[in-house]
Symmetry: D2
Subunit: 324 residues, 4 copies
């Protein structure tokens, strides 16, 4: 079927490519004409403006917005609302906040438009491996775009089937689900990213302990000079901690065991934060997910104010002068 794509960055561009390879057609738009041009060469139909983009879509139209969450997505959805007609569908495939989805879906519904939120995992590997997708919205719209989702999803692949799932939603094992009404897709994707932070921090701490196993402060007989690249590799087979993140860790350590090429300044997308806000709203104790987010916050500071206040108190009661 035909899909319109707005936003041809790393994610949007590759989604179009995977669709074209899968026999679908695409109309594409991006603020940057070169991005449009590139995909036109690969078989997509280009548009120079949102107006032209909408006019080139077959009715009922399906427009996928793949832009950074926040103002730019908000504005684009608003513009589409003005340009599109009852029965058309807007898909937000970015990392929007689920409460924004709920609000926008209600706004579009008033104009007879469908709104579908798609949480999309897969990153730069999605073109080849497929995208894991969590979808929120009304059933009519979600069913209409099923051919798109089925092509983008990884499919069963070589992953063994889960015993006991016979008779359940077959889409899930293809790599996409209709999670619920508007917002549900991004809600599930948000928690996915919250978990991702926790998993990453668990590995990061473990490898940090391994790497410091020969620290000078340890008794000499207990120091180990470990090859952490080999350790990451060995755990990939047969161990309880094997995972895709471990695969990536093994790759990173294979090329730069000391990780000297990395700054250690760790960004975070909004989803880790929203996950904790959700946990707090639900009274769920999320100690690990919180610790993981805070480690990122801390990675971006030198000599935090909190630390200085600790030093000030220590000087106050004990006369301690901290080293610089």
């Amino acid at each position: 079927m035909q899909l319109g794509m707005i936003g041809l960055g790393r994610m949007g561009g590759n989604i179009v490519r995977r669709l074209l390879k899968g026999g679908h057609t695409a109309v594409v738009y991006d603020r940057d004409p070169k991005a449009v041009e590139a995909l036109v060469k690969e078989g997509a139909v280009g548009a120079d403006s949102l107006e032209e983009f909408v006019s080139k879509l077959e009715v009922p139209r399906t427009a996928w917005v793949m832009l950074p969450a926040g103002a730019i997505t908000e504005e684009t959805v608003g513009t589409l609302k003005g340009l599109m007609q009852a029965g058309d569908t807007v898909i937000d495939g970015g990392n929007s906040f689920y409460k924004d989805d709920i609000r926008r879906a209600a706004e579009l519904r008033e104009a007879g438009l469908h709104y579908v939120d798609v949480g999309t995992s897969g990153g730069v590997w999605g073109l080849e491996r497929g995208y894991c997708m969590m979808v929120g919205g009304d059933s009519e719209a979600v069913q209409r775009i099923d051919p798109i989702l089925a092509t983008l999803a990884p499919g069963l692949g070589s992953v063994p089937r889960t015993p006991g799932r016979e008779g359940r939603d077959p889409c899930a094992e293809q790599g996409y689900i209709h999670a619920g009404p508007s917002g549900a897709g991004h809600f599930v994707k948000m928690v996915h990213n919250g978990i991702e932070y926790g998993l990453m921090q668990a590995y990061a701490e473990g490898f940090d302990i391994l790497r410091h196993a020969n620290a000078e402060e340890l008794p000499e007989a207990q120091r180990f000079d470990l090859n952490i690249g080999d350790i990451a590799e060995v755990w990939r087979r047969g161990s309880v901690v094997s995972s895709w993140l471990l695969d990536l860790t093994a790759q990173a350590l294979a090329s730069d065991e000391r990780l000297d090429s990395f700054s250690g300044f760790v960004a975070d997308s909004g989803e880790g934060r929203w996950t904790l806000n959700a946990a707090i709203e639900e009274s769920v104790p999320a100690t690990v997910l919180s610790a993981a987010l805070y480690a990122r916050f801390r990675s971006r500071e030198h000599a935090s104010f909190a630390d200085k206040l600790l030093s000030a108190m220590r000087k106050g009661f004990g006369g301690h002068q901290e080293p610089k």
Copy 2:
């Protein structure tokens, strides 16, 4: 080659089975004669006592101890020390504390015996999938038992090779490594389990947030009634959080989505604790791994004393009466 195995529980028994299948021979001993009998039927040579066990091993002997860490392992290794001869090798394949390995290795070295510590991951799946092994000890002994390790390990299997590892230790991608001197094997396995706790808790908290997404305390328009079994399944393909632990989670939720058959009383082996002790010794901030261990401690209490003290303080300053 021939291996002697002491301790024929879930792990020890299956290790012998995998070796027999791989063309090795085994002498086996267990306190429980029925466990010995069972393996004799499968092709092993049985022994009724440690003395007989040692006498049936070919020189230089190789005895693998697969018993609970602590007193019983300590005692068995001590007995073997008295029964074996210079040049023989004792393997501790259990979950011993690495500082105990360092001490024991030194004690056995005085008697000319080799001591090899093998951290073994794989659980009940090891027989079929192979065991991931992290080995500590002197190179002579570790090389001598290489045929055993190679058979027990999973091998390359269907796991893709890590780009950039060409020319490195080929054992690692077979699923076993010689991590370093005595204690190094169990040290690495210990941190492995510490990471395991962190990963498990990250998933547990994430699914807890998903499951409470329709909590009554939330605004009605923001509640989602999610199918968390489908969510676990969908993440298995193409997503950043895919892992073996997620596979197991999907299996558990496929058969009992509410997990009513579980008590929520979560045990911990010593290794999570030792990992934190190591982190503290090394001054490594292990916030996530700690939070994961503490969640287990807390799971085993009803109305902790700490909680009661909070209630007592709240009553003291605010007159609050907590509900029962």
Copy 3:
């Protein structure tokens, strides 16, 4: 001066009492006529309705709302907005969310009304010890109510003056501050409560460790049977951890050392949650404050879903059966 008080619960009633003792006058209203009656006997002027309440106030009117944060406060402020006139002042002395203050202040400003948010600490001890107050709002209104604040505040008392504060805002050492524009008072009070949770949890964990110092799992030679009531008492004098919360702890342990009269079900007001939301918005790593809030969440659950999921995974990879 004259103050109108709406809400005569534990806090509102005692605030009126402290004002009457300090030579001020008060008009009081509560949904419960008995609460009004009780204070009329102590010298206040009573009102049967909000309309009567407003009519009895001298112009420019000053009305202090002391109700639970949320719907009831919102509704009451709205009603007052309709009844009062330009130049009048509404004080919200409850535990409102500071973003609600910012919004309400803007709404009242359109009608020419002043809005002052007062974060009030002191609990059941405020009548006798005075209330610590953090105030947000425009300077004109805050200055007008200064006589009220000065009477309610604890004053210098026996607390030693802070060296180096000469020439700074003298109100702070009396126990109240004008923290900033609307919302600032409740923002500061919110963080105050966030800190309070952290302090409480630090004591709670420490005493929990002391109380388990004779746990059976410890080597016998290392067990201590400690008198934790005496320990709380001894720390009150000369130690670094002395505080008012410790005083309360000592009192609680003096009367019930095992705290058997407490359930260990620990409630939380919204302020701890909002503090974390603020930390997350500001990218401040608040590991201790989060852990403290989550301990309360956890105290209110038996066998959490997260714990059950851990059990399910343990069964999956290791065949472990957790005890009930």
Copy 4:
């Protein structure tokens, strides 16, 4: 009575001064002759060697060792054991590990010597305010040194007595307790310091949130430019979070509100670490105390390896380039 003091640093010197002021006599020794000389001028009897020190003590001798925990304390106690006689008492007033106390007490007991461990809180303020002391050892020895303890302790002072303590150990409200057998004193002091870390971190995080209340990432209408020195001051009177640590915080902020004179590199003594080891041994979930210790560890690193590994994973799955 007479006390011998070994180690005339900030703590040891002031303890002698407080004893001299209280009418006791003292024999003093330090590796640094100038430290001895200074106290001789204030009325103490000096010694040039441990031998001379012991010879100048009246039988039964009482020698207080006030040295850094670890090798130097161990060596000094060992030397004293050789020089002293049955019936004499060695006091370790430093911050020794309680398991070392248990061992040393047993060793000295074999020679008929008493060993008393005294956890001492008070820091640079102890000379004036008195020392809070937690004592472990046999009753005979602890009773013999009671006059010393009573003089060093703060006494009732202006701190209100705890209701409900009538008839209990009167020493506790004077500021010292006999906590239990050898090791109990340092065990209680250890947990005291663990709590101290938690309290400090709670304040540090709270003030960090206050200080970032005008962060640019916040919506402009929600930013507050707070005077955190005034906030620390106002909380000292009437609020739930008042404490001695808050007093010190207010002092620090009064002289340097931005704390620019502090490095934010926060040291830790061993006691916070041992507290967590104890919690782990006892299966007590100490989430806040752990987070507090880890914040100190983290304060001493730039760009931790764990952070770099997070960056490496992010690059691996998402192509993210972290800013330097």
